[in-house]
């Protein structure tokens, strides 16, 4: 019998993300959840702001 590949924790991609990416994901998912009641939420500007805040002008690059 061939064994399955080891199971990966579904949340690992978020937990293992760099700090600023994890922050974006958490903020985006929270906003999406809050706006789930809307068929077409207008949240592109909010998400853009979240990304820009997470990678600010003063970021050390």
């Amino acid at each position: 019998m061939v064994s399955d590949s080891p199971r990966r924790d579904p949340l690992a991609p978020i937990n293992e993300a760099p700090e600023h990416v994890r922050r974006i994901i958490q903020e985006v998912l929270k906003l999406e959840r809050d706006r789930l009641y809307q068929q077409r939420p207008h949240i592109i500007d909010d998400i853009t702001r979240m990304v820009k805040d997470a990678v600010g002008e003063d970021s050390t690059l």
Binding site: V2, S3, R7, R8, D9, P10, L11, A12, P13, I14, A17, P18, H20, V21, I24, I25, V28, L29, E32, R33, L36, Y37, Q38, Q39, P41, I43, I44, I47, T48, V51, K52, A54, V55, E57, S59, L61
Partner: protein
Amino acid sequence: MKLQSIQLKNFRQFYGETAVLRLSTSSRNHNVVVFHGSNGSGKTALLNAFTWALYEAFTRGFQYPDQLINKRALRLAQPGEVVDAWVEVRFEHEDRHYVLRRAIEAERRPGEPEWTRLGDARASLQWCGADGKWNSQDRVGDAIGRILPADLHSYFFFDGERIERIVQASKDEQVALGEATKRLLGLEVLVRGETHLNRVRKDLEKELQGIGDPETKRLLEEKQSLEEEKEQLATRVEEIAQNIEADEARRREIDDRLRRLDEVRSIQERRDQLQREQDGRRALLTQTRTELASLVSTKGFSLFLNPAIERFRSVIESLRERGELPAGIKRQFVDDLLDSGSCICDRDLAPGYAPRQAVEAWKAKAGLGDVEEKAIRMGGEIAAIEQVIPDTLSGIDRLQRRKSTAREELARIEQELDDIKEKLENSPQEEISGLEIQRSKIREAIAQSNREHGEVSRRIRDLDEKIAELEKKRAQHQGRERRQRIAQARVDAAMNARDRIREVRELLEKEFRKKLVERVARIFSRISVTPYVPELTDEWGLRLLESAGGEPLPVAASQGESQILSLSFIASIIEQAREMQSKRAHLPGPDSAVYPMVMDSPFGSLDPVYRHQVAEHVPQLADQVLLFLTQTQWRGEVEQSLSGRVAHSYVLTYFTPRDDIQPEHIEIDGESFALVKRSPNEFEYTEICEVHYG
């Protein structure tokens, strides 16, 4: 969603306003609400009062859905008077109390013989949160859909005699079921997050383009043009899929018509069976190919190791022949003796002495101690590999045999299907030959669409590769200016976040499917007496497999088994939602994991064994169970299993204007209730009374 109460006014059989029928259940041990009624008393109308109020939808088999207002109310009203009918459902969801009312009005205008419906049905929804304030909710449909998705409602509010529909769902119903289930479990948030981050990524790329160097600009432009091409192709793929679905629906319609024609019914039924077998064999072939590929990729290497194993053995053998193995003494031991300057026999091992030279000579031999250790370890590994070789060979053999058997059977099935097609096309009856020729054309169109689907999908995959390649190049092309680097980092972050959300979604979907299948199998085996095992296909088709005497093959499930399988599926979704909610508080999950199951005649077509089994398990399947039953369905096994778990019980008394109908009664908790009574007037109607347990 936990139902609290329902009240009706002038809805179908129910004249005037009914009392508020309490539905709330306090514990998992008393979570059943039963409505007793004879045939025609309004049980199905009551079930449809829920679906109409919540979704403006009706169950299959609910006749004349345009005639919702009670006939007596309409006839007794004066010309010019407006008559209304409404259903009010109160429920709780996630610490909020909701009051939903859907209403409809009609008027007989003076001088007009017919009733005129006044506009569409109107729904209002109010909710009260923890602060005790009531709020009015607009977009009622959307709000209800978020609590229990509309496309899943028929799995929670259903006609028990038709519930096997889940098992016999069409392809598009299966897809809808899959999507709705994922939405119910909260994966919609991830889908939206992924889509919106992708749009943000595109916007940020445009910003970068505005400040980037010429090479970055060029790469981005090229990428955008490929993405546009990909979007067009994706639209085309959707169109093709819709065409296929429409053609399939037409094909099914023709099959239905052929099934209704006495002359060819048996042939069409044989074809139905062959097609099911064909699906089963195809699925088996795909599964076998996957297993074979997996076996070859994980164990196939062992088959090429024989020469290396032989070589290893001969090296070890020659060492043994030369007496160099086993080494018998360790180098470390010899070194320690030499360091201490004294042998174990107390001889002096000072430099220059003969005993020291003799001990030093052992060092060369002792060096083989490492070889020996490795030889022992490798020997063990080789023995394990040798064990794998016959298993791998027999596994490959078994899978190849399975593949060729499935292919032979497929060829036989296809031949028989061709024969049927030819026979029907050449039928002397024009209707039959006409239908079959039309069917063949549709099948050809489907085949062509499938080919195009494959080709366009391949082009999309090619584009994906090219886009990924360009993305890599762009990432390598380091921006020099700070502003450009920041813009670049934002694009990267948005893309990274999008990809991770996608990965989480895919992992969750995979885990969720796996668990769902396990749950369905567990619940099904608890209720069913058959050895069949449920399977969920990639397309969300639910079917039963049996593996007696060899490979698992789909079985033609009876109506009873299909109903049990469907019930198991619904119960599994509820269980899964409950688990996801408890474990994933920090991830978007279902809002609430409490759902009702509202079933009309769930035991109608079951034999006594299954009736008992289902009745025993029904209260555990959902948090709240509403049952609509006739006296025959209640008596015996069901009554014994459920009577201790009933929270509320109602009797629907049907008033008939006919004189020749015998009154009917039902005894509940030692008290007699009328099921059918003579109407005091010319109208038929139904009244509902609550049973108060002593």
